[in-house]
């Protein structure tokens, strides 16, 4: 059941990106291009998403446990730290260069575009590189990962 629910959620997410045209890197870049022919569509996508997700998350918070699993995994990290800031800045640079973030990049694999495949391979490489990056404080890091989940 969990797998079917996740599949359906993935499909709905994909339809959302498709209908809002956020699968098209040019559409995303047009939003980021505030000094050019600015297209505010992405802001409308985010606001509409929040209008639905905020009450949904409130409802989920109030429940003791999710419908199909034993417990909810809420992100537990607090505070704005250096990895968050550096990581987000690097992510923003990459996003601005091509106009692809992980969701639209993966969905665009359906087009079998060689440049999208190259982007996803590089993105996977970047993620793997991070996960195998030597940690300076391995003991503390290990404890951290036991009690916290990533933000998203």
């Amino acid at each position: 059941m969990l797998v079917i629910a996740a599949l359906i959620c993935g499909l709905i997410f994909g339809w959302g990106l498709l209908i809002s045209e956020m699968v098209q890197p040019a559409k995303v870049l047009a939003f980021l291009d505030i000094f050019g022919a600015w297209d505010p569509s992405l802001a409308v996508v985010m606001i509409a998403a929040l209008v639905v997700s905020v009450p949904g998350f409130r409802l989920a918070k109030r429940r003791e446990r999710p419908i199909l699993a034993t417990q909810s995994v809420w992100p537990a990290k607090m505070g704005i730290d250096r990895p968050l800031m550096i990581g987000s800045a690097l992510f923003g640079i990459g996003w601005g260069l091509v106009g692809l973030c992980p969701g639209p990049a993966l969905e665009n694999l359906a087009t079998l575009s060689p440049s999208v495949i190259a982007f996803v391979v590089a993105m996977t490489g970047g993620m793997t590189l991070h996960d195998f990056w030597p940690k300076r404080r391995p003991m503390i890091r290990q404890e951290e990962t036991l009690v916290t989940a990533v933000d998203g």
Partner: protein, 141 residues
Amino acid sequence: MANFTPVSAAIGGALIGLSAALLMLLTGRIAGISGIFGGCLGFGIHDKAWRSAFIAGLILAPLTASWVGYAMPSPQMPANWVIIIAAGLLVGFGSRLGGGCTSGHGICGIARLSARSIAATTIFMFMAIVVVAVTRHLLAG
């Protein structure tokens, strides 16, 4: 604002929000694509099944949409392979280091009113706007 498409943006955005809300209500998980996909890659992670199913749904969405006559546009990508590879590496590494991407921080995190996610979204939006301004107007100008 010649290409502003508020209606399709609102419908699509609502669907993205619905997906995030449903995933949390049903499975208790955050719909952050970099987190879900990153978890598929890691060793020693035992919940790969639902993660892979979500990603499969995402990739299958254009196929199911084509059954009802909704065509997937072909993506406009840069011609320069170095830029594509560099951007992919930055997006992958940055989203993992920063703990999330546009979906995890930008939608789920802001919906939870997480200070971390609001900061992350502000930073990556700002950096992306700067990069586009530099590449489109400063360098090309």
